[in-house]
Structure formats: C-alpha cells, structure tokens
Symmetry: C2
C-alpha cells in the first residue's frame, strides 16, 4: 500500500505538472447519453471520467452525498469507485468528500468507514464540534484529514467570515496545532481568492484543497497568485465543469479536454516554480 | 405516511409521558452475548432495543457512523433499521444522526438520501457552511432539520463557546430564521445545562434535541430545570447507557429497565406541566 506524505504529494504534482483534483459528483439526472441512470451507470461514468482525466490530474475527490442518494447500491458503488481508483491509479490522492465530524467515539467510526472499510487517503471533516471530533481521524497512519476552513459557497458569509477575528481564521489557526503538514490540509474556496493571502499567513506550508474553480466561478490565476504559499502545496478541485463538459456519448473526451485545459494553465505557473 | 408537526410531536410526548429519544450507536465490539458481530447482528440488536424501549420513548436516533463502518452491508442495514422503525413504530420520531452539510447541490443530495431513498423524519446537520448548506433539507415537506447548536462534547469549547457573542448563540439566532418550529430543532448538549437557559432566551419554543444524558454525564434534573422553555419542547437522548446496559443475553430487558428509569424521572416532571 502506498501512503502519501507531504513530499510524495508535492513530487507527484511536480512530476505531473498539475495541481488538479477531479471531483466526482455523479448526479443521476445529469449523466450523459449512453449511461444508465442507476448505480451501475454511476460506476461506469465515474471510472470513465477517472480514466480520461488521470493523465492531467494528481487527485480524485469523491462526493459521498451523490452515492448515498442512490440507496444501499450507491454505497456499494462508492466502494467500487474507491477500489477502482486505488487499483488503477494508485498514484492519485483519493479524497472522500464526506464533511463528517461528531463526538470522539463516533468520529472514530467514520474514520474506520473511510480509512479501513474503504481505502481512501483522505476525508473532509467539518470543524464545528472541535478537537475531539477531528483527532480520531488523525490517528490513522498515512491518512489525511482535510478540515473545512473557508468554503466556496455563499453560506460561508453566515458564520465563517463573521466576527473581528473571523471564525475561519480561528479554525485554521487552532486546528493546525492538532496535526502536521503530513496529515492535515484545509479547504479554502477559490471563490474568495483575496482571503487566500490571509490563510497563507496562518499556514504558509500546509496543503490547501481549493474547490470552486469551474462552475462556481473561482479564478485560477487569482488562486495561484494568492494561494501558493512557500511550498506551492495546493490541490485545486474542479468537479462539474469537467465531468459534465458534455452530455453526449463522447463525454469522456470532453472531460479530458477540460482537465487538460485547466492543467495546462497550471503548468504555465508550475514550470516557473 | 405520518408526518410530524410541532403539535403532534408534543402530543406524543404528553401521551407517552416521556421525552426520551433512544440513540442507536451499535458498536460491533460492544454487542452483547448471543448477537453476531456483523451487519445482521447489528440489525437484530437494533430491532430488539427498539422493541424493548419503545414503550418508554417517543423517538429513535440512528447514528449513521456505526453503520458506515460496517461497509456496504452496513448501509443496507441502516435502511432495514429505518424501515423496521417506520413499520413497527410509526409514532416514533425517527432521526438520522448524520451531521451532514455541504454546498447547496450536495446538501440536496444528502436530503434525498435520508428523506427520499430512506424515510427518516429528521436529520442532524452541521451549520459551519451556512444557509445554503441547510436550506435544501428544509424544503422537504413534513421533514425536520436538527441543527447543531451547542454540542455535548469537550470540543464544544474550541469554537462554539468562543467569542464575546459565542458562536453557538449566533448559529441558533441566525438559523432560527431559516425554518419554523414545525421543521427545525437545535442540538443542545445536556453536559452544559447552565447554557440551556441562554438558549431558551433565543428560542423559547423550538424543540431541542438534548444528547449527553447517561454515559456523557449530563444531569437530567438540571436539563429539565433550564431547558424546558415555554412549550416543554424537548427530546432527551440517551444512547450508550441504555443500549449497553448489559452485555449479556438479556440485554433488551436491561435496556428497557434503563429507558423506563429515565422516562419515570421525566414523568414526575411532565405530570406537573
């Protein structure tokens, strides 16, 4: 089994000349032509997207909600997608975008679900419940926790950006003591690139997982300008703009083209690093 | 299909003379004698606990983490537990303790998972991502959203209790505008009963789901003294102290006895209401 460290992940980015993380949010209603609208179709869709985009990316992010919505066969499908990724693309950093977090003994169960029952490299975790909701995930050797810092959605204004010392700053500051740059990242949305500068003052080295490029409208250039930090430790996620690039039978070619377009834009910056 | 409103839920509490919600956190390692340590055993365990405690309670709370940890058969088991509860105890308010919450289109998928693919009456939701992470759950007619306010764990000190106007107050204040007392509740931990008074100043009428009585050490009398509000709208949860009351074959009798003990303590107060 291959475990990711800060350095192996950075090397993978340098070798691939890409920070791209491809987000798999398979909505049955948006599946392209030729794909059945059931868990088997979702599996086919995800695997074809992974095959098409793997050359341009270093990471896959699987959104658990879209699998849970399919019922018990959806959870089975989530398992198969995880296995497929690990078997065929072991160099890809595999994220369960699950936004979990609960009291200690319950978080330990969630960690077991994603790190033991399945073999994800990382899970996204919500920080509202504090240290004992996050620490159980950090006890798994070679596994990563990605804590919500400043999210990409409109609702980030409600609590995260609230206060003189905004909540997202407190969260990133405080949580950064609980893990290391070898097992802890933060979510920092691309839709508010001006805040990435402030985040880099707090955590200049840690990896940031940056959603919101693509359909949500985040600007890649601004993200790179403000979010680079000292190490260039970034995973930049695009989901819908890639996976739904076309609704036709040749969707995987269009997904590959969009992934390639984004990674080429990244490459231009990466070669200067 | 029977939908719960504020009034039907209150009536159920009055008729039953109990605020008790029984929490199902089935840890395979803690299953009692005679129960197999696999998803089938977990199903048997949960259903026997439900049958034993139903006379003393008005609600069941199913903790999704413990099912996810079992792999795909665990999700199937979660579905069966939900079906069993709805079929055999339709008067019990059925909560998915899932602590979900994500950007709008993803929260909509979680809502579909728990309200459509399964038939839970309510789901617990984490507020960190703000309004668009919560509103999709509130769009389901007859379904309830239970938003984390002040949780029962030690980690609540990290962010929720932080600041001059603490975060949990902001959350309860703000979120209370997004739904009504017919589709929105808040989690308020029993381990900090002194804060229940403040919470009742903000939401005197809304239902509160109160975990932390039992193993976590919350004091039932203090909870009732401070948390009652104008309507006595409470669901008081105990999980481990009931379901693991005995590790022997007669566990269900011990679970019933502990549920009865708690509900009798509640009854003494309820008859005075």
């Amino acid at each position: 089994m291959f475990d990711f460290t800060f350095n192996t992940l950075k090397k993978s980015i340098k070798d691939k000349q890409s920070w791209l993380c491809v987000g798999l949010d398979p909505d049955p209603e948006k599946l392209p032509a030729g794909i059945s609208r059931d868990p088997e179709g979702v599996f086919q869709f995800c695997t074809r997207i992974m095959e098409a985009t793997a050359p341009h990316s270093v990471s896959f992010k699987v959104n658990t909600a879209f699998f849970e919505a399919l019922g018990p066969d959806g959870w089975e499908c989530l398992n198969r997608v995880c296995e497929f990724s690990k078997k065929n693309f072991p160099g890809h950093f595999l994220i369960a975008d699950a936004k979990r977090g609960d009291i200690g003994n319950t978080s330990a169960m969630y960690a077991r679900a994603f790190f033991t029952a399945m073999n994800f490299d990382a899970i996204t975790v919500a920080p509202y419940m504090g240290s004992d909701s996050i620490l159980p995930f950090l006890k798994f050797n070679g596994k990563w926790v990605i804590v919500l810092g400043l999210t990409s959605n409109e609702g980030a204004n409600d609590f995260q950006l609230n206060g003189k010392e905004p909540l997202y700053e407190k969260v990133i500051q405080r949580v950064s003591d609980w893990g290391t740059k070898n097992n802890l990242m933060f979510v920092a949305g691309a839709t508010r690139p001006e805040y990435l500068k402030r985040i880099r003052e707090i955590v200049p080295d840690h990896f940031l997982l940056i959603p919101g490029v693509g359909t949500q409208g985040g600007d890649l250039k601004q993200v790179l300008k403000n979010g680079m930090g000292r190490e260039g430790a970034l995973l930049i996620n695009a989901s819908r703009s890639i996976i739904y690039a076309s609704a036709e039978k040749d969707f995987s070619a269009h997904a590959a083209a969009e992934a390639h377009r984004l990674s080429a834009e990244m490459k231009a910056v990466l070669t200067e690093l």
